[in-house]
Subunit: 135 residues, 3 copies
Amino acid sequence: MFKSVHVFRVKPGQELLGEISRFCGERGITSGVVVGIIGSVRRARLNFLIDLPGKYEGVDYDGPLEIVCAQGSVALKGDDTIVHVHIHLSDQELCRGGHLAEATIFSTAEVVIGELDTQLRREADSYTGLNELMD
Amino acid sequence: MFKSVHVFRVKPGQELLGEISRFCGERGITSGVVVGIIGSVRRARLNFLIDLPGKYEGVDYDGPLEIVCAQGSVALKGDDTIVHVHIHLSDQELCRGGHLAEATIFSTAEVVIGELDTQLRREADSYTGLNELMD
Amino acid sequence: MFKSVHVFRVKPGQELLGEISRFCGERGITSGVVVGIIGSVRRARLNFLIDLPGKYEGVDYDGPLEIVCAQGSVALKGDDTIVHVHIHLSDQELCRGGHLAEATIFSTAEVVIGELDTQLRREADSYTGLNELMD
């Protein structure tokens, strides 16, 4: 279950993924679910997986773009905490979603993390070439 | 944590944001996370933030459009309960997401709200010109 | 509330909706919220509701496409467990979301299900022509 649900704001000019990692690091959160993120970004880079093992393309987007939603997880690979987030960005004309590489906040990001009472772990997967959730 | 998770349906012809507010009002929910919404809309208006402080454009969409997902929060600003939702709408040709201003339900909306055991609060932010989550 | 939060991986080549149903069946989960799914698909079929009662169009998509997010529920209709999921797929050029009919996993799908302590139920609705959540 979610032993705790953390709701916090990331502010204008801050980098979203780094701030989530920092929040988790300061509170000792190593296992959780990114339940949601809404807000807006000034710019962002998304990765799109195009082939296996592990070949992706990064695309840069200039905002302002709405953060429509985001989902993901916080897990350990060995002793390292990995925050894995997919995010959906949109304005009146463009609409894209993918793996969040980095994003600079425009007005705000309201982040919700459900901290788990069990430990999520990742390990390298030779078939996908990525760090995948362990059973 | 989520002290309660509320799952309810909004019905054809009803206005989505108003029904969520009414649901929360009747049950005394003043702090929570909009975990998700799926369904379909007959029409909707989304707002897109285009400049700071607080300048946005509203765009009207005619459905039927799928509600692919939605995320957000329920929080107090002073004594007022504010429901803040970003929503993703799509059909076979159009795909957009933004700040939910209003939406009329087509077939259904299945709404999930996680009620928090802590109080979320908003206050006016002079830089963004919006009501932002407080630390 | 969520009496348990299940996080599990669906693997390359597996069919997403069937694997979620199988996971729920094996663990006796008949009531829950699909909190999120991220990953990528090799191909997928989405349904779009175009008219009432219950007329939809299915569209097939070839990947690889990112699973940006997904939301939905697990509920009983009579004795049958129904998994209802809306999903958002995107690459650098295409972005669509709709009712998940089926999807074959490319690299991974990381599925989060919050198991409820109350029983969600569906029943046929003559107006929408669909199985809708009961009050």
